[in-house]
């Protein structure tokens, strides 16, 4: 028992040190977002002598925060919704179907996760233009579905294996068809992995840079990261604004993450009660 306590304290100490290292750069970003650029280059670790809130005001205006946030949210929501819907269906079915065709399709999806993005940039842009999905936030969201389903299918495929087949058999005996079975029985059981997928895809889409840069031509459609990037001038990086913008763009992520985190707890608790 005593040994337990000692090791417990040791673990807490290790975790705390790790947490400090993990948070340190973010702490630096926050304190420096309140300095002028001159002050920042003089010393990077000293606390700001005066809180320059106008960095935030300037960043707010320059990156057109409200508009960019709406764009980022629209793209993320449609993208994630589409990925979850398409991938849950496909991942479930591919996991439950044996045979060469099914394995081949699954292999295709997985193999494509290994494709380096730079190698499809030009062909993808051509395709997007041919289908006229280029230039709009909705079009971009659809492209995200196409690029994101493989990873989600991979995760669903693995998760479905842990769900006993008896459940579906029972539902079918009760007269559910395949689709009803999926939406009524299976999909609710997939909640924990769905939440995980949503968080991972949200972070990807929210912070993605190259694809929106290629697809969005109009500044009014820019996402938060694209707008923030406009602060990186050719010879003049507006560090105080960039850091303020970094903090501003991270806030929605932290809020959404905390919200989903409770959701994970909830989903798991529910699963545990039922199990």
């Amino acid at each position: 028992m005593r040994q337990n306590k000692a090791s417990s304290i040791l673990i807490t100490v290790i975790l705390s040190i790790g947490a400090a290292i993990s948070f340190f750069p973010i702490y630096l970003a926050i304190i420096n977002s309140f300095k002028t650029q001159g002050e920042m280059f003089k010393s990077f670790i000293s606390l700001p002598t005066k809180l320059h809130f106008n960095n935030y005001a300037d960043a707010f205006n320059q990156i057109n925060l409200l508009n960019s946030t709406v764009n980022s949210i629209v793209i993320s929501v449609i993208g994630i919704g589409g990925i979850v819907f398409c991938a849950a269906l496909a991942g479930y079915k591919l996991s439950r179907t044996s045979g060469k065709i099914s394995s081949f399709i699954f292999f295709l999806f997985i193999a494509s996760m290994l494709v380096p993005f730079h190698s499809i940039m030009i062909p993808l842009t051509r395709m997007a233009k041919a289908l006229s999905v280029q230039g709009s936030t909705y079009g971009l969201a659809i492209i995200y579905i196409g690029l994101g389903v493989n990873m989600a299918i991979f995760l669903y495929h693995g998760f479905v294996k842990s769900i006993p087949r008896e459940l579906e058999e029972a539902a079918q005996i009760d007269g559910c068809n395949e689709y009803q079975t999926f939406f009524k029985i299976i999909f609710p059981l997939l909640v924990p992995i769905t939440v995980t997928i949503s968080i991972l895809d949200f972070l990807w889409i929210w912070n993605d840079f190259l694809l929106p840069l290629l697809m969005l031509t109009d500044t009014s459609n820019y996402t938060l990261i694209l707008s923030t990037n406009t602060l990186f001038g050719e010879y003049n990086k507006e560090w105080s604004l960039i850091l303020a913008a970094l903090v501003l763009t991270a806030i929605p992520v932290i809020i959404i993450y905390s919200f989903f985190q409770r959701f994970i707890m909830h989903g798991i608790a529910e699963g545990a009660v039922k199990g």
């Binding site: 975790l15 970003a29 193999a111």
Partner: protein, 294 residues
């Protein structure tokens, strides 16, 4: 029997079609046309190009020391990342899982680096390496902190690793945590009653139960490490010279700066793709055998 299998395919098709159509249009077809370019001498700007067979592939592997150099550098990085990232992530997940009140707090803190854009955080770290650590060295007499962290390729390899781990461990930790939550508490308690210590319980009860999470994490780390770009771009830009240039950077340079040899760059990405494919295939084979044994 034939009607049944016919039905089976219809059902498979309806479930898979929405995902497959979008995937085919935006990923599969572009990938294939990218591969077609790899057999051409297209320079990205000209409207015309010729097919030159395997010329690009031969050139990349035999006449391009920069490419081979970046390939070797990337391989070294991959080995370190796959081991370290998974060890750290699993340790953190196990430690955090053992906490009660502080679980949510630690999980959020360790995951936080994932919430901010990689490219901007890599720039942040250049300040840490170039300014903060030397200043700390001055104040604390820990002289080893005063190094050319990003300017000397021998040291900067480890700086790149540090930032990559800082950025990536939280992601894997989440997956391990999800796996750990699937381990029934009763099993662990049973082991403890049988007299197993914490390490033995972990080795014999927990680890076999999370092999699937381990497979996923190894796969993701391997794949991500081969395609690393932003961290290196932000920290060293591949320099000095090309001493820390990773393979994606070499491809990027070939396609968009240098002479815009897009066909040649495509051939290099096909090579990269094949390498990742081989490594992943081996990894999954090994892991699968493990999963079965467990």
């Amino acid at each position: 029997m034939p009607t049944k299998s016919y039905k089976k395919y219809i059902s498979l098709f309806t479930f898979v079609a929405p995902a497959f159509i979008l995937y085919a249009v935006f990923l599969l077809i572009p990938t294939i046309s990218g591969m077609v370019y790899s057999f051409t001498d297209w320079n990205g700007l000209n409207r015309n190009y010729d097919f030159i067979g395997f010329g690009n592939f031969v050139e990349a592997l035999t006449e391009d020391p920069d490419f081979v150099g970046s390939l070797l550098f990337t391989l070294k990085y991959v080995v370190f990342m796959v081991v370290l990232q998974n060890v750290f992530a699993l340790l953190l997940a196990v430690f955090i899982e053992s906490r009660r009140k502080t679980k949510g707090f630690f999980r959020t803190i360790f995951f936080m680096p994932n919430m901010i854009s990689t490219i901007i955080s890599a720039f942040m770290w250049t300040f840490v390496f170039a300014q903060v650590l030397p200043q700390l060295a001055e104040k604390t007499a820990l002289t080893f902190l005063d190094q050319a962290w990003i300017g000397d390729p021998k040291v900067s390899f480890f700086s790149i690793l540090t930032v990559s781990l800082w950025n990536g461990v939280g992601y894997m930790m989440i997956i391990y945590l999800a796996g750990l939550q699937g381990v029934p508490q009763s099993l662990k308690e049973a082991a403890r009653i049988d007299g197993a210590n914490a390490f033995q319980t972990f080795r014999n009860v927990t680890l076999p139960m999370i092999t699937h999470a381990i497979t996923i994490c190894f796969f993701l780390t391997l794949n991500g490490a081969f395609k690393v770009f932003e961290v290196v771009y932000g920290l060293t830009g591949g320099g000095p010279g090309r001493s820390t240039q990773v393979i994606t950077m070499n491809i990027y340079e070939e396609a968009f700066s240098n002479n815009f040899r897009y066909g040649y760059a495509s051939a290099k990405s096909v090579i990269l793709f094949i390498i990742i494919l081989i490594f992943t295939f081996i990894q999954i084979q090994v892991m699968k055998r493990r999963e079965v044994e467990a």
